[in-house]
Subunit: 231 residues, 2 copies
Amino acid sequence: MTYSSADFPPFAVTVDLTILTIRRNRLCLMLITRGEEPFRGDLALPGGFVRADESIDDAASRELLEETGLALFDGHIEQLATYGSPDRDPRMRVVSVAYVAFAPNLPDPVAGTDAAEAMWIEVDDLPSEMAFDHREMVDDALERVRSKLEYSTLATEFVEETFTMRDLQTVYETVWGTTWDRANFRRKVLATPDFVRPVVGRTASTGSRGRHAQLYRAGSATALHPPMLRA
Amino acid sequence: MTYSSADFPPFAVTVDLTILTIRRNRLCLMLITRGEEPFRGDLALPGGFVRADESIDDAASRELLEETGLALFDGHIEQLATYGSPDRDPRMRVVSVAYVAFAPNLPDPVAGTDAAEAMWIEVDDLPSEMAFDHREMVDDALERVRSKLEYSTLATEFVEETFTMRDLQTVYETVWGTTWDRANFRRKVLATPDFVRPVVGRTASTGSRGRHAQLYRAGSATALHPPMLRA
DNA sequence: TCAAAAGTGTTGAACATACACCCATGT
DNA sequence: ACATGGGTGTATGTTCAACACTTTTGA
């Protein structure tokens, strides 16, 4: 079959966002409560229609800002997968492109914005039933993020601009539910060239009781060879 | 923004296929020559419109059979990514969901079928210009397949149902352009539980001159821990 | 001075690499 | 018999996991 400029079935195209952050040492996910049918009252991923003149990536970025209420998002966003069963939306034929986004310390949803009905839910406390096929999207997103921790430097997207080795270790332990030997974790991170860069002359000076930790910034490396092990 | 059942912009949705196989120890890709505008005469990925009543995955499988001319495809197909720049098709707004498929020994395109204008191109011999954004899709597909070899048992999809260790090694060497020590490759494969299963009592009896190799089938393992190294 | 947290050292086990050697088969 | 390719053994170097130890800081 080849392209033809006539006689194609029309689809609506939406984006849906799985926005992940770590709050109080727990992996959390932004969900909204649907205010209208279908699935009124169910939890759903934030999202919306792709406009006629914007790219899908642009639509995802736009929705991300609208939903978080941020003026600028300094985390990471990437496309996850596209979902297009004929009956996934009972009203019409909708194809949805799902995205995953990560950032540290995202704020609580603020009343009076588009994010008013949004909330943070711990991923260990998700409802089994969600609107549309959003539960499937969430499972795929969690699989993606857990997998990417192993082979990429994604973990640095979950911490602030400067961070300690302990902060980074906590990301792995939170997302994977594992524990690591402190010394071996440090050596593994430092063994990857330019995974992290020490911030010269600065140490964490918060009210911590012990020795102040060296601060690091994310380096330019993206792939991990060898990968972090999932214990 | 929330869903609304009115006033959404209409999109055409297509699937595009990156079909990979190994022929004469070279990684090859199926391309077609476009017979109409736009991009008439350029090389393009096979693909077509998603129908009104089929899922996107079903559309990809349907196109795969049509393009290869096979009655049944026993390889592997998976979704790659979705491409939706507003101007990627000059005629209208088209969102395309790209898929990657792998199989051993796919036949030459046969005249008289939909695949008549299709051909196999070695990936080292690709044109820099392709129709639409198909060159970008191909680059993403190659990155995906090379990466998946490391962390998954995907390599078994490129060989016949039964295969020798040497066959499997050739897949890695062809896709990655590396060489391996025979003995160490074998030990690495066998170290992953149920990566491959020996076929009892059977050995390759083709006209090979040396000792007959043990035959294996793909096992049920999907992930590789530890991963194959990319040298 | 003590507790807490960061950072370093060390040791035995596991693994990877390179290569030598033996085995089975067709000519 | 011997060339050819499959399969196994092994010595050496490297990395990994566990945990003991030292350093720095706040109270």
